[in-house]
Point group: C2
Chain length 130, copies 2
DNA sequence: CGGGATCCGACAAGATACTG
DNA sequence: CAGTATCTTGTCGGATCCCG
């Protein structure tokens, strides 16, 4: 197989941009929130139930960050039982597309990675790479 | 209310896969290493010089993880001055493609995010979202 | 040159309790 | 219901020393 990646001019500056969004979506819960909101508009509690493992502290923090980055829109309804809706913005939806690409890659090559790990883990001590 | 979700059937299981690779490339240096090796095969010291900010501890740890996941191949040359070469595997190159997609998104929408942040930061205290 | 081991600081993140 | 504040812990990551 030959390399068809051919990154055009991906210098340090561009890679820095990649780190930017990875800092944004690379944390433990952003992806989960984006994915959950990609399906539908949800309330705080609904999000908490959907994502399961998340604490209300991290959910709040994650939502705040995503809102600040313009990826999630927060709507407060001034009703007697407080109600706050969260939904993806258009920008957030484009990011969701990227996330789906990520998922596609993970599903496609996740098996290979698993095998590689097993093989690496099975190596005695020093691998005769040369 | 109806769901206008465009993603086909992205359930929790798939999202979990996305988290897997984000755990892998989401750390501080993996992207930088993958990007550096995407251009050419490099030695340890060369990698250290290319990535600049990285310490040898993190470079070693990052390389080890990437090697274990089958993304990077490590070649030891038994010569008098020790020489170790690192290069991307075919699997690593496909991941580089994903990374490039990420970079593309970052470059394309990074400006919008910046504006959103500025707007969010300029808000008084409670935004009349509803 | 390449890398392992250890110590230590900084921050992310979980659990809990409290508020409006 | 939708958060906020505090405490504690776990992990990441840098600095340093040492080895082959």
């Amino acid at each position: 197989m030959e390399v068809t990646v051919q990154l055009p001019e991906v210098d340090t500056a561009r890679m820095c941009h990649a780190r930017q969004i990875l800092d944004r979506v690379g944390d433990k819960w952003s992806i989960a929130v984006i994915h959950a909101l990609g399906a539908d508009t949800l309330r705080f509690t609904e999000l908490k139930r959907t994502i399961h493992g998340i604490s209300q502290r991290m959910l709040t923090a994650t939502l705040r960050t995503l809102e600040r980055d313009g990826l999630v829109r927060r709507t407060v309804h001034p009703v007697v039982p407080p109600r706050v809706d969260y939904e993806l913005t258009e920008l957030g939806m484009t990011l969701l597309g990227i996330v789906c690409s990520l998922m596609g890659w993970a599903v496609e090559h996740g098996d290979a990675i698993d095998e590689a790990r097993a093989a690496y883990d099975a190596r005695p001590a020093g691998s005769p790479t040369g």
